[in-house]
């Protein structure tokens, strides 16, 4: 009997602990979502630097505003030739594009998530994550002194990845690093984050995505970040894509 009891205890406790682990992972991702998607709105200057084999190839600058998790507007300011171009991302994957030389904003649909986001190493899939807790199936695989190492398996079968391995900061619950694995489970991209706190919010001051196969990387720098300005919904309309002076 005693033996059986021990046996049952082991079975139950391992069940519980594995449940606990997955629960932990889910909890961690929720906390992470709460940390990085916390602000109700956000404004920043964004600098995008493209590098190949360590050499800078292209620099772009934009002003970004964001409300909630799925409304985002970029207005590009540099280079000169592309200044004034603006994009507006709305819920349900709707995107509007304004190109000054062509006048009217155009709705564009991006049919492929794996496409590179305007020449960067980020794909549209990488750029449109709204919740790591909901869009991935998390499993905690390691618990180090500095980080939780979480395996994230995409729930969508349209994903380009077999899994992501995310290193989550233990104290502040923001990503330190994400490794992207291709469908054959080979590491092929890596994002390294540098999070910073401004007021009560954490934001990625710097993130570098490296495509390991192409030896190509994209660095996104965020400065002059302002949170919770109560940005009005009108800012996120098609009309607002066209600058007011015009």
């Amino acid at each position: 009997m005693k033996f059986l009891r021990i046996f049952i205890y082991i079975i139950v406790s391992t069940g519980i602990s594995s449940y606990a682990i997955s629960q932990d992972a889910k909890e961690i991702m929720k906390k992470l979502d709460d940390t990085i998607f916390a602000a109700s709105d956000k404004q920043a200057r964004v600098k995008i630097i493209l590098e190949k084999k360590g050499e800078t190839q292209k620099v772009r600058e934009a002003e970004m505003i964001q409300k909630g998790i799925d409304k985002k507007r970029y207005r590009y300011t540099y280079p000169e030739s592309q200044a004034g171009i603006a994009t507006l991302s709305l819920p349900d994957g709707i995107m509007w594009l304004y190109m000054p030389a062509f006048g009217k904003p155009k709705k564009i649909s991006l049919l492929a998530k794996s496409q590179a986001f305007t020449g960067t190493d980020f794909s549209y899939e990488d750029m449109t994550v709204n919740s790591y807790a909901n869009e991935y199936k998390p499993t905690l695989i390691e618990n180090t002194n500095n980080a939780y190492v979480v395996k994230l398996v995409p729930r969508s079968d349209k994903s380009n990845y077999s899994k992501l391995i995310m290193y989550v900061n233990r104290t502040n619950f923001h990503p330190e690093k994400i490794e992207y694995y291709d469908k054959k489970d080979r590491l092929y991209k890596e994002a390294v984050y540098n999070y910073k706190k401004a007021g009560k919010y954490w934001y990625a001051e710097e993130v570098t995505m490296t495509d390991l196969r192409k030896n190509h990387s994209t660095m996104i720098l965020m400065t002059e970040v302002i949170f919770d300005q109560k940005l009005p919904d009108e800012e996120f309309t098609v009309e607002k894509l066209v600058p007011e002076e015009k």
Partner: protein, 754 residues
């Protein structure tokens, strides 16, 4: 000479040990030899078309693009589209593949009901499955130059999945994985492979299998002939061993100095086997013939006699090979010439040092020598071939001469019928999958030979883009251009999708802003460089015919001269242009190498025979046999190509030896007795026999190449064998007849007639 011979015997052990050590060292190097079957890398650096082609292939990855061709009844069915998706996914997961482009992942820009749609032509997660959807897809696909003739055949029955091999990746490994993985998908439609990585790999495979298959066969054939001729194990082993050592040294040095095996140099072993064994045969034969008190003296005497003839025979052969350095277009032909010459030198060197040293260390037993000598006196060859031949020549010299003259005249007619071929497709036998794939590329995708028009100019300037558009229109007027592709097509599509008229926008700003969307699209790397300061029009040339290639070159050069400006400089290149130059160079290289070889041979032979006139006589049979060779090629329809262009000079280098033997033997004997008949008899019976054995063993060795998988090598073997037979025949009939007639005209005529 006596001294040299004595030194060789004195240091016999040093020689033997040195040879063994060198063989071990160089043999070990052979493992490092690599095969290079890439034709592009073999193009010379002094041809501007070839240089530009290499540059473009590098910058735009044209050299790394492989193709999987899927052929079926109708590509626009759900099943086939699924197969395309499957192949595309499979390829993109292969290590060393940088990008994959197919109907299932190519960009499509169109104006849709929601505005502009940028996406994939086919959504792999929602493949069209109704007749309406499939028809709609078909009409969209066949409308665009970007897809039609590039990814899909005009008739919709074949599609191509393109892949780019990463820089620095192991091309052969990638190509093999591609084949293996695609085959494991068990797709019912016909699958073929094309494009440089696949082509290069299949040529490498053929080279490899040729080497593995043919070398043992030719070893066996030559060994058998040697055994039948000499009836002694020593007569087989010694020549074969020295040939093998010479081969190991040559390939070892190639590996050591970083040279690669090419589709030409892979026949070096067989040539060395056939050519190199001859020198040892001469040495062994001479040792057997000498009678002296002891082995030391026998070998010394033999060496004194044979040293110069063997050195000179190898010298003329080397001249034949070295002549390829001049005037040949492809670097692999030059390398082949150099290394075969080196190998020939090694063969002679070994025959004159290593072989006597070995014989001295392991002397043959006396009984065997006696048997050999008895057999030398009487044989089938002497009684039934040489004796009647000798009588015929003496009685009917004029008939013999007339026969030769007729043969030469008929052959000259054939020379004008010789065709030339530089088409890589022709290197493969009929039914070879690579050849079939090339044929499909020609019949369904407008050709497999790429053409590149390079525009150095601002790719955001409407003027430059319009010039490109205009150039594309102009190119398509040529009957050999089915479709063209460039970034212009994409820009025109986008302009249309943004609600404007299809075409190049007039304002620079619009184009600059369009680039915002295009930046980073991998597919575009095939058309423009990274800073947009240059771009290319990609096209393919349909006709394999050199005349149309030349016409097109002229057609395009006129256009470029008129339109290239400061705004954009235009240059054109591509395989068809290289083909034209290669074609011209075939004839030029043939002429140059042959002229050089003939002059060098006349000089060398003149020096050996101490008479320029005799040198000239000696070259008559070989020149005659080369004329017959070309005539044969013309009548039978064997084209001049990178393999057959080598035959004449190789044949000259080897075949001249027969005439040298006949001339020197004849002059030597004639000077002694002033009797033509006796001189002729001696020459025919002794040298004639050696010549016939050599002709048979060399021709048989080369005939093994007929089993090669590579067509140029196949013909190379056949043609060398033919020229060997004719140069042997020439040395034994034409040359004696000329000598008889020349001498008769002099004083001899009187004594005989009257």
């Amino acid at each position: 000479m006596d001294k040299v011979a004595k030194y060789i015997l004195k240091f016999r052990w040093v020689i033997i040990i040195l040879v063994i050590l060198t063989t071990a060292f160089l043999g070990y190097q052979i493992k490092n030899i690599t095969i290079n079957s890439d034709v592009i890398s073999n193009l010379p650096d002094d041809d501007p078309d070839a240089v530009l082609l290499k540059e473009i292939a590098h910058e735009y990855g044209g050299n790394n693009i492989g193709m999987v061709i899927l052929e079926t009844e109708n590509v626009f069915t759900t099943d086939v589209l699924e197969n395309i998706v499957e192949i595309t996914d499979t390829l993109s997961l292969i290590e060393g593949i940088y990008s994959v482009t197919s109907l299932s992942n190519i960009l499509e820009i169109k104006s849709g009901e929601y505005g502009m749609e940028i996406g994939k032509l086919i959504d792999e997660y929602d493949i069209p499955d109704t007749q309406v959807e499939l028809e709609d897809l078909k009409s969209r696909v066949l409308k665009k130059d970007l897809y039609r003739g590039n990814l899909i055949s005009e008739d919709g029955t074949a599609t191509v999945i393109l892949f780019t091999v990463s820089e620095g990746a192991d091309v052969t490994k990638v190509a093999k994985t591609v084949k293996k993985k695609v085959e494991s998908l068990n797709i019912q439609d016909k699958i073929y492979y094309a494009g440089s990585p696949m082509l290069v790999t299949s040529i490498s495979d053929l080279i490899n299998s040729d080497l593995i298959r043919l070398i043992p066969i030719s070893f066996f054939v030559i060994a058998l002939i040697l055994f039948l001729s000499f009836r002694s194990v020593r007569g087989v082993i010694l020549p074969m061993t020295t040939a093998a050592i010479a081969i190991i040294w040559t390939i070892g040095i190639m590996a050591l100095t970083g040279f690669q095996m090419s589709m030409i140099s892979n026949n070096i072993p067989i040539i060395l086997l056939a050519v190199g064994s001859a020198y040892t045969i001469h040495v062994v034969n001479r040792v057997n013939l000498e009678r002296a008190t002891d082995t030391h003296n026998t070998i010394t005497k033999a060496l004194v006699y044979i040293f110069i003839p063997v050195m000179l025979a190898s010298l003329t052969t080397m001249v034949g090979f070295i002549s390829f350095i001049f005037g040949s277009y492809l670097t692999m032909i030059r390398e082949f010439g150099i290394f075969t010459a080196i190998g020939t030198f090694f063969s002679a060197l070994l025959a004159l040092t290593f072989v006597p040293a070995l014989i001295y260390v392991l002397p043959p037993n006396k009984k065997a020598i006696e048997r050999q000598r008895r057999r030398n006196k009487k044989s089938f060859l002497t009684d039934y071939v040489l004796a009647p031949l000798k009588r015929l020549l003496y009685i009917h010299p004029k008939y013999t001469l007339t026969t030769w003259i007729m043969l030469i005249l008929i052959s000259i007619g054939g020379i004008f019928m010789i065709t030339r071929s530089v088409n890589i497709r022709d290197y493969f036998r009929k039914g070879n999958p690579t050849r079939i794939a090339e044929d499909i590329m020609v019949s369904k995708f407008g050709g497999s030979k790429p053409i590149f028009v390079l525009f150095k100019g601002d790719m955001q300037d409407p003027e430059v883009l319009n010039l490109m558009l205009q150039t594309e229109e102009y190119m398509k007027k040529s009957p050999d251009i089915l479709s063209t592709q460039s970034v212009v097509d994409i820009i025109a599509d986008m302009t249309e999708a943004l609600g404007e008229e299809r075409g190049i926008p007039d304002e620079r700003e619009k184009i600059e802003q369009l680039w915002f969307l295009l930046d980073g699209q991998e597919y575009l790397q095939r058309f423009v460089n990274s800073d947009l300061s240059e771009g290319i029009i990609l096209s393919k040339f349909t006709s394999p015919d050199n005349k149309s290639k030349k016409e097109f070159a002229r057609y395009m050069r006129d256009y470029i001269d008129a339109n290239s400006s400061d705004v954009a400089t235009i240059r054109i290149t591509g395989m068809p242009f290289v083909d034209v130059t290669m074609d011209k160079s075939l004839v030029r290289s043939q002429f140059a190498s042959l002229t050089i070889a003939i002059i060098a041979v006349i000089i060398i032979v003149g020096l050996i025979l101490r008479s320029f006139i005799n040198g000239l006589y000696a070259t008559i049979p070989i020149v005659a046999s080369i004329i017959i060779l070309f005539g044969f090629m013309g009548y039978v329809g064997i084209s001049l190509n990178i393999g057959t262009v080598l035959v004449a000079s190789v044949a000259l280098g080897i075949g001249i030896d027969y005439s040298i033997h006949v001339m020197s033997h004849f002059s030597h004997t004639y000077k002694k007795g002033q009797d033509i008949y006796r001189a002729l008899r001696d020459t025919m019976m002794i040298s004639g026999k050696a010549i016939i054995i050599n002709v048979i063993s060399v021709s048989m060795g080369f005939l093994v190449l007929v089993f090669s998988e590579m067509v140029p090598l196949e013909y190379f073997g056949l043609l060398i064998a033919i020229s060997m037979i004719f140069s042997g025949l020439g040395a034994l009939t034409l040359l004696p007849v000329i000598l008889i007639l020349v001498k008769r005209k002099g004083k001899f005529i009187k004594t005989h007639n009257g």
